[in-house]
């Protein structure tokens, strides 16, 4: 009975996967945004118990962030506190399972918080499988400064998510993105960084020159991006800690863009334009040593490494239109993997290694989609006037992307969607935003 909840969710996920596969086979190139019959798992999270007087203000806030994280996945449903029959007063008191069964809470999350005199927050929690009268996993405790209280709540939620779904979580992660203001023809752009849920926004650059397409390093300590600071598009690398940036010394007379880190964090792959031709190169970030990976007269851009660093997926119009290709990380012959109708761009390899997310243009609409690395089982997850630039959550279950609305007052915002195509929603940002890059689990 201990694994009952996990089994239920797994069964739901498996059923969903089967449905999607079945429809995908019937009509592989149709937009597939199914509103399936997934019943979210009901949970209760009472305000975390304040174990000393200084902690009183934190209990409810911590529980709220944990609840928001879980609800945000679309897999969980919070039971309103007004329905609670008993209210725990001590973290040590045995759980009254009957009281939680009566309100159909399948999972119960109990937390407690203390604040020390020097502002250290200690958060501990336990998860209970109510209908099997037992604790799920063991109690855990996190410690940090009060400034980092949201991170501690995210860590609790990650642990709960992980115990119930069997998947790694993604809540304690950050996103680097482009913050936008102003009209379409005079748009100001600057780099921003925020928690995955849009909290704690900070700006990494000013908006004196155009900045585009930032990409997190594998550990989240640096960001590669394209800036017009010199008047020309050139790749820069920025240290997230002190926000200092330097230009990447690609060939100084040529435009460079579309950078991305290798999984080892020491190599970057990017595009360089020479005349009418754009090819893919790699560079060792420490030595500045670069080498060419593609050599055709076509536009080759948007490279992304496989998680093991052995291969690179990229887009090329060598066939006459944008399509996806995979080659060895050392270059050489590439295999085309996209064969559907329309144009395919911005491929990004899933952190799990199994899927490639991409942008597809077909009949005047834009889609975010996924396919297996051999190009099979293509599924479109979204459709709109302009969706582009997918980025993967660290667990490979959720994709964030840019959606821009149509017309003279068109504006970009960040959206996320499950890899199943469910749970499409807007990500909270202070203003217009584009080009998200989802960082690692911290």
């Amino acid at each position: 009975m201990l694994y009952r909840m996990r089994e239920m969710l797994c069964a739901v996920l498996a059923a969903l996967a089967l449905t999607l596969t079945a429809t995908a086979q019937a009509a592989p190139l149709r937009i597939e945004i199914t509103e399936g019959v997934v019943e979210p798992l009901p949970f209760a999270v009472p305000g975390f118990i304040a174990e000393n007087s200084g902690a009183a203000e934190w209990g409810a806030k911590l529980a709220q962030v944990v609840a928001d994280d879980l609800i945000g996945t679309g897999l969980f449903d919070q039971i309103n506190e007004e329905a609670f029959i008993s209210r725990p007063t001590s973290f040590a008191t045995p759980v009254q399972y009957a009281d939680w069964k009566a309100i159909n809470a399948q999972a119960l999350i109990m937390g407690a918080v203390t604040v020390s005199g020097d502002g250290q927050l200690t958060v501990k929690f336990r998860v209970y499988d109510v209908f099997s009268d037992s604790e799920l996993g063991r109690g855990l405790q996190f410690q940090g400064t009060t400034d980092g209280w949201r991170r501690m709540a995210h860590k609790v939620a990650d642990a709960v998510y992980s115990r119930i779904t069997g998947e790694t979580g993604y809540f304690d992660s950050r996103v680097v993105f482009v913050s936008e203001t102003g009209p379409k023809n005079e748009r100001k752009k600057r780099l921003g960084i925020m928690d995955y849920d849009g909290a704690n926004v900070q700006y990494l650059t000013d908006s004196s020159s155009i900045v585009l397409a930032p990409r997190f390093s594998p550990t989240g300590d640096r960001v590669l991006y394209t800036s017009y600071a010199t008047g020309f598009p050139r790749i820069h690398v920025l240290d997230v800690g002190d926000t200092r940036s330097r230009i990447l010394e690609t060939q100084s007379d040529k435009m460079s863009f579309a950078p991305r880190f290798a999984p080892n964090g020491v190599t970057a792959v990017y595009s360089l334009s020479e005349g009418s031709n754009t090819d893919i190169f790699t560079m060792d970030l420490a030595s500045g040593q670069s080498s060419r990976l593609t050599n055709t007269p076509a536009i080759e851009t948007a490279p992304s490494y496989s998680p093991d660093g052995g291969r690179i997926v990229f887009e090329s119009d060598r066939s006459g239109s944008q399509q996806l290709y995979i080659m060895s990380a050392n270059g050489g012959e590439a295999q085309r993997i996209s064969f559907g109708q329309g144009r395919y761009g911005t491929p990004v390899w899933s952190p799990r290694g199994d899927l490639i997310a991409f942008t597809k243009q077909h009949k005047g609409r834009f889609h975010i989609g996924v396919m297996r690395t051999d190009g099979s089982e293509e599924r479109l997850l979204t459709a709109s006037f302009l969706d582009e630039g997918p980025t993967w959550a660290p667990n490979g279950r959720v994709i964030m992307f840019t959606r821009e609305t149509q017309g003279a007052s068109g504006q970009s915002n960040l959206y996320s969607v499950d890899v199943s195509g469910r749970n499409l929603k807007r990500v909270r940002t202070p203003g217009a935003a584009s080009d998200p890059s989802w960082g690692p689990l911290q």
Partner: protein
């Protein structure tokens, strides 16, 4: 010879402004792009349209931009005739350098459009070089879909945004 080439230049300029320039600039003036265009013109050295050696003359009488078909960087015959006049102007006014800015409309992914804008700007650069303009006087840059001049999401706007603009920059001697 010198006399001759000036006459050819003048005729070329008149022909271009007559058949291609007017309509486009009129509509640019009435649209949102108008302020951008006026600002550019005002930034010139103050020489009016009457001074054929001024950047303003280049921009307005010769025509500083050529337009492209969707996802293409090949030069139409209309574009070539504008560029012929641009080349003649640049050869005559040899103190100036130029930066060619390539642009794409919003119907494309960001990075592909950067490459596409680069292709368009380079197509103009190579054509001007083929007409005798020194390569050292011509730089090019892509703005992808980052700087549209028209902001509607219709072909009428897209057509004007798929462009390469020859921006006359300070003289070689300045």
């Amino acid at each position: 010879m010198k006399h001759m080439s000036k006459i050819v230049l003048l005729m070329g300029a008149l022909a271009v402004s007559a058949c291609t320039g007017a309509g486009r600039f009129d509509s640019a003036d009435s649209g949102v792009g108008g302020s951008d265009f006026d600002a550019g013109a005002g930034a010139g050295t103050g020489g009016g349209l009457g001074d054929p050696t001024s950047p303003t003359y280049f921009q307005q009488a010769i025509g500083d931009r050529v337009l492209f078909v969707v996802d293409q960087s090949s030069l139409t015959s209309e574009a070539q005739s504008i560029l012929n006049a641009q080349a003649q102007w640049l050869i005559t006014n040899s103190d100036y350098v130029a930066v060619i800015e390539g642009h794409a409309d919003e119907q494309g992914t960001r990075e592909y459009n950067l490459a596409l804008g680069g292709r368009r700007a380079n197509a103009v650069r190579e054509y001007l070089i083929s007409q005798g303009v020194s390569a050292s006087r011509l730089k090019f840059v892509t703005f992808g879909k980052e700087r549209p001049i028209e902001i509607c999401s219709e072909e009428s706007c897209y057509a004007k945004n798929r462009r390469a603009v020859t921006v006359i920059a300070g003289g070689l001697t300045s």
